[in-house]
């Protein structure tokens, strides 16, 4: 395994992993885990799904490490992989949700859970965030929570800068509207 010095650059670690030092990859996992986890949890609104997407993203990044053109930007490259994994996991979860809607008992359960969440007010922000479309939620989180520049967001998401600016603007407007409605209730 070996001990990896704190502060070793991504470039060095990537080179070591590519050179066959698999254990060095643990440094990159530890370095990016928390930040990526925050994005995945907020994006998917479910800790289990987020962990699955995160683990999948780390493993996929390892398998495709040769395709990381600029190891100095490993973090941004990894972000792009996670964004895609979250899209896939989110779409699967949405399909699961649609299946549940056909089930009367499950439907009641979901309804109760939502009401409970709102009335208890444990996490109104996350609840409001979950009501945004995935595109708006993704853009809002990357811009305002993860602090990415629009150009970086464009590389990570594959969307154009203008489209991303529009999504962020609409996401802010919708969040304000949803939270105001929640405060009125």
């Amino acid at each position: 395994m070996g001990i990896h010095s704190v502060g070793t650059s991504d470039v060095d670690v990537v080179r070591r992993v590519l050179g066959g030092d698999t254990a060095a990859y643990a440094t990159l996992v530890a370095r990016y885990r928390d930040r990526l986890a925050r994005y995945a949890v907020h994006m998917l609104g479910n800790r289990e799904d987020a962990e699955e997407a995160l683990q999948d993203a780390f493993v996929r990044a390892y398998r495709s490490l040769e395709r990381c053109d600029d190891p100095a930007r490993f973090g941004a490259w990894l972000y792009g992989i996670l964004v895609n994994r979250c899209r896939t996991t989110g779409a699967r979860a949405a399909r699961r949700g649609r299946v549940f809607v056909r089930d009367e008992a499950a439907l009641n359960g979901v309804a109760h859970a939502s009401v409970a969440e709102q009335t208890e007010g444990e996490d109104v922000v996350c609840w409001a965030l979950a009501r945004l479309t995935p595109e708006y939620r993704e853009a809002f989180l990357l811009k305002h929570v993860e602090d990415l520049e629009y150009e970086e967001m464009a590389r990570v998401t594959g969307a154009g800068v203008s489209a991303l600016k529009m999504r962020v603007k609409r996401a802010r407007e919708q969040l304000q509207m949803i939270l105001r409605e929640a405060e009125r209730v």
């Binding site: 995160l54 996350c126 929570v145």
Partner: protein, 181 residues
Amino acid sequence: MFEPDEELVGRVVRQLRRPVTVDANLDARVMEQIARLPARRAGGATRATWHWLTRPRTVRLSPLSALAIAAVFVAVVLSRPDRLSHPASTGAREFSFVVVAPRAATVSLVGDFNDWDAARTPMQRAGKQASVWTAVLPLTPGRYRYAFLVDGVSWLADPAAPAARDDEFGTPSSVVTVGGS
């Protein structure tokens, strides 16, 4: 009353920026899964370099640089004109013959280049119902008389080419002159 918009969004962002906790074993699970993968072959760095060398890139050129590259290309082509002719060994160039014959069932290209043999160069319709017929033929430098034979009986000169004045058979024909290199 309600908060101003920016304050509301700021509150949301502050809350979302709080750290989240995930399963403490996540790192171990990732490394365990990676350990089960086939070992990364030695030379990974070499493959990464190869990938770096072969990956497509966007190249930005100033108009002046583009002009310079174009000038170099033209100079190379002019210095070796045979590189663009086909096939280079015989000096032959491909010519496309086109005629419009909407009611024809068959059209043949006949001329000096195929001994006026209607069977040697049948023309093809440009599409299933098209009235345009085409044939492509390699011709070496020289002067050729030619015509189109419609349905095996009607001779048709090429309306888009000069008419041949020395037609000894009394049928209309046209002339194409292929320049040498």
